[in-house]
């Protein structure tokens, strides 16, 4: 028998149902994520991937099923998790450093400075967010999330609005900080290439369920030119598009 290294389960979703009114979004979804893993969730827009993330963050209640964090059922806001939103959501009336300090104790400036240094923005800490570029804003949002030392980092398409070059830069930054700080990370994205570039495992959500669970066996830091990289990419994309074609055909 092969020895499987012991992996502690961090996030467990069982038979999760979630809908709004008549519309069912997640329907019997099962997922298990172990400590320190980087999981990417992909799927077409409206498939419920963001809803899933918001459920894990405790920002929304599920209709049925159970979510367990470190084997304890999640009933309210997930306090060990920090979420990074697509639109940054920095407070425009607070300077960069004070944005990073949100939710910290009063004497946390030093910690916030370290977090800003990690994302390379220590020299902009006195600015208001309006003065920053889109990529810089997301760096601040990343620092704001990391300063809490979360055991779980939730990324809700945080790079979706950035230009291609900034996006690759941010992907590398997040991946390197993840490797260094060893938190569990769940990334929701519509960009399959981003998923392959960052995650240990890519999960596809279709019809409210997990329809693909693809482990990405590539060395880190990930090389986008690696031959296996495009193989993974093609496979996952093929899976998404294939389904789409069949559907169109039936219609």
């Amino acid at each position: 028998m092969k020895v499987i290294p012991e992996q502690k389960e961090h996030v467990l979703l069982k038979d999760v149902q979630k809908g709004y009114g008549d519309r069912t979004v997640l329907n019997g979804l099962e997922l298990s994520i172990h400590k320190g893993e980087f999981v990417a969730i992909v799927g077409k827009s409206g498939c419920g991937k963001s809803t899933l993330l918001r459920l894990i963050a405790g920002l929304e209640r599920l209709n049925e099923g159970v979510i367990r964090i470190n084997d304890k059922p999640l009933t309210q806001l997930n306090e060990h998790a920090r979420i990074m939103f697509q639109d940054g959501r920095l407070l425009p009336w607070k300077r960069v450093i004070d944005n990073v300090c949100i939710g910290l104790a009063k004497d946390a400036k030093a910690k916030a400075k370290i977090a800003l240094r990690q994302v390379g923005l220590e020299d902009r800490m006195k600015e208001y967010p309006a003065k920053l570029s889109g990529g810089q804003k997301q760096r601040v949002a990343l620092a704001r999330a990391l300063v809490h030392d979360p055991s779980l980092l939730l990324l809700d398409e945080p790079l979706g609005a950035l230009d291609a070059l900034t996006r690759i830069e941010m992907q590398d930054l997040i991946a390197s900080l993840w490797q260094k700080n060893k938190f569990t990370s769940i990334l929701v994205t519509h960009d399959v290439e981003e998923a392959v570039a960052m995650a240990d495992r890519v999960i596809l959500i279709e019809n409210g369920k997990v329809s693909l669970n693809q482990v990405i066996n590539l060395p880190r830091p990930r090389q986008r030119t690696h031959p296996a990289f495009s193989m993974y990419l093609e496979e996952i994309l093929g899976r998404i598009m294939d389904r789409q074609q069949k559907k169109n055909f039936v219609m």
């Binding site: 407070l91 425009p92 009336w93 208001y128």
Partner: protein, 256 residues
């Protein structure tokens, strides 16, 4: 560009005063030329002389200070009540349900229509004027505070919650600053209402204040004093606008 960068700052300070200066000199010239009879409009110099005369007797100071006291007292009372109601109705759903409909009904009554009633209730002493100013100031502050709080970006509130803010911390870090620009619009608007109400109230029923000074002068046909009162109102109006702008610059720095 018309203005060179070097002189730009000075120009920015001078240009807004050009029209008032031209009007003033035109007025003075027409008076000198005899085109403006003194019974219709006394010359600026006459008005200035009247001002000096009233300052030397101490009359002007006492009228101005009583008017300012009324304005400020009414503004503070009405402003604080309006702000608190706006705050509670904006933040708490239950307070909103209980109070908002009634406040919206009262808001649509022109508060100056209450003058006869207010005179019968409080007579013509201080209470009636402060009451009217407070009532006039209350609604614009209420509406804008309420609306400001209701329209704070929900996604920022959610972010605040997700990052561990709640109760007072959430209010002072996210909700209040988010509503601030709207609150300041309300304050600015209500400063205008404050002067308007006070002028009307003092003109109709008072035995002191700038409005009384004007009405009293009318009985003795002292045109210069009447014009002086109007100029005083204009100056105080400008002053409250300067204060409002200063508040905006201080509190909305991030938006500049």
């Amino acid at each position: 560009m018309l203005v060179r960068p070097k002189g730009k700052e000075a120009a920015v300070k001078i240009i807004p005063w050009c029209i008032p200066l031209v009007l003033l000199s035109g007025w003075q010239l027409l008076s000198w030329a005899g085109a403006l009879p003194e019974r219709i409009l006394p010359a600026p110099t006459k008005v200035f002389q009247a001002a000096i005369g009233l300052v030397s007797t101490g009359e002007l100071f006492s009228h101005v200070s009583i008017s300012l006291t009324r304005a400020l007292a009414g503004f503070l009372i009405g402003g604080i009540i309006g702000f608190l109601f706006g705050l509670f109705n904006g933040v708490f759903r239950f307070a909103d349900l209980v109070f908002d409909t009634s406040i919206q009904m009262l808001r649509n009554i022109p508060h100056l229509a209450l003058i006869p009633l207010v005179i019968l209730w409080f007579g013509i002493d201080e209470t009636s004027k402060i009451f009217l100013v407070a009532l006039g100031v209350l609604f614009p502050v209420y509406i804008n505070t309420y609306h400001g709080i209701k329209s704070v970006d929900k996604s920022l509130i959610e972010m605040g919650r997700a990052y561990g803010l709640k109760g007072g911390a959430l209010f002072f870090n996210v909700i209040l600053p988010g509503a601030m620009s709207s609150i300041l619009v309300g304050i600015r608007f209500s400063l205008g209402v404050m002067w308007l109400t006070l002028i009307v109230a003092e003109t109709i029923s008072a035995h002191s204040g700038i409005g009384y000074m004007a009405m009293n002068a009318r009985e003795f046909m002292q045109m210069d004093v009447i014009v002086l009162s109007i100029v005083l109102y204009a100056l105080f109006g400008k002053l409250s606008d300067v204060i409002a702008r200063y508040l905006e610059r201080r509190l909305l720095q991030w938006n500049m």
